[in-house]
């Protein structure tokens, strides 16, 4: 490979790493995948460092000087387990028979091109919130309200999230608006149970998956990334709690 081509390969490789990280892969998996692909293309040495907010890859190809590229991951993408599966399949195919760098780039673009359908996200949110309301002891009417509030939360996630300084601030506002809406509706319709409905809707905002991933990162030995994510998850949970508490206190002042 010429130096120009190595640089291009490195660029594609690091983009693949960023995509893997953003769709919800553990740090260990990202590093392992990039190392395997680099070895498949004949790298003498590949040093890959992935932490929550950046990826650094240094590649030494035979008869060439080592080359380094970095990728700054500004924001975490939404979890996309189908993309994760497709990227894994791509990496397995590429390791088995490495194509040209152009072909690798084309296939990666092809996989990244498939975006999830937002209607499925909405349907999932309604089902998830409604069913967890029933799970925690709510009635079917509670589940129906939880489903409606889930639509509101979904709309906020898709339309409003960009306006906030960070995820923590958004989480506070979303849980406050969601909580206040539930209390208002339950005041109008007294047969509903506000606590069960809120518990169902909280499930959509709780950073449960971030917490799970952070613990798995720490257990697999990636303590730095795991700790960063753990702190982020705890902060998100705290701002969610504050938002709901603010809604409770406000409604106590207004209604009761």
């Amino acid at each position: 490979m010429q130096e120009k081509e190595i640089s291009r390969f490195l660029r594609v490789l690091i983009r693949m790493g960023g995509a893997l990280k953003n769709c919800g892969a553990e740090v260990y998996r990202v590093e392992d995948t990039l190392n395997r692909i680099a070895k498949a293309y004949g790298a003498q040495e590949a040093n890959v460092l992935v932490i929550t907010s950046s990826i650094v890859v240094t590649l030494t190809m035979p008869e060439n000087e080592p080359l380094t590229q970095t990728l700054r991951l500004r924001k975490g993408g939404s979890t996309d387990l189908l993309l994760l599966e497709q990227l894994n399949a791509l990496s397995r195919k590429i390791c088995a028979a490495p194509p040209s760098v152009q072909e690798f780039e084309r296939r990666l673009d092809e996989v990244l091109h498939n975006r999830p359908d937002p209607r499925l996200f909405l349907l999932g949110s309604i089902l998830g919130a409604g069913a967890s309301t029933v799970f925690f002891g709510g009635t079917l009417a509670d589940a129906a309200l939880a489903g409606c509030i889930a639509v509101l939360i979904c709309l906020m996630q898709q339309k409003l999230a960009g306006f906030f300084m960070n995820q923590i601030e958004f989480q506070f506002v979303a849980s406050f608006i969601g909580g206040a809406a539930v209390f208002l509706m339950c005041e109008l319709l007294p047969m509903l149970h506000a606590d069960k409905v809120i518990i169902g809707d909280i499930m959509l905002l709780i950073p449960g998956m971030m917490l799970t991933n952070s613990i798995s990162d720490i257990l697999l030995g990636d303590v730095i990334s795991g700790s960063i994510r753990l702190i982020e998850a705890v902060m998100l949970a705290a701002s969610l709690a504050l938002g709901i508490m603010a809604a409770i206190i406000l409604m106590q002042g207004v209604i009761f």
Binding site: T79, L81, G128, D195, I199, M209, T212, I215, I248
Partner: protein, 151 residues
Amino acid sequence: MTKVIIQLISAAVTTGGFALIYHTNRRLLPYIVVGGSLGWLGYLAGFHYWGGVFLPNLLAGFTLAAYAEIMARVKTAPATAFFLPSAIPLVPGSTLYYCMNAIANSHYTEAAQLGWKTAMCALGIAGGMAIGWCLADFNRKLHMIHIRHEK
């Protein structure tokens, strides 16, 4: 009994909903939904034998991790795809809410107890997962040694 059946079904639907949110492959959806019920069944079994919060969650976390590892091999998909949505019904959303409610109403002793319970839940699930992963990793390494011997 009816309560348990309602919980198992709603756990399955919750898991299905979150599988859609996480954009999971539809081919895997039936197995993920079963995982959601299985995790809760693990929790119920643990609660029946030991009571409390920590041990039932530990058993549930372990059951799910083991199920995810087995299904990952059977269906050749990442274990994460099975584990993440299935673990959602175990998330202690309800204790967290009642804890916040107690703080907002200045019932601090109750809040501290509920906060502690939430933390124990999370720790239990994480511990169970960790045991499951360690065993899966151990099994993988034994398998590699076996392959090397055969060569």
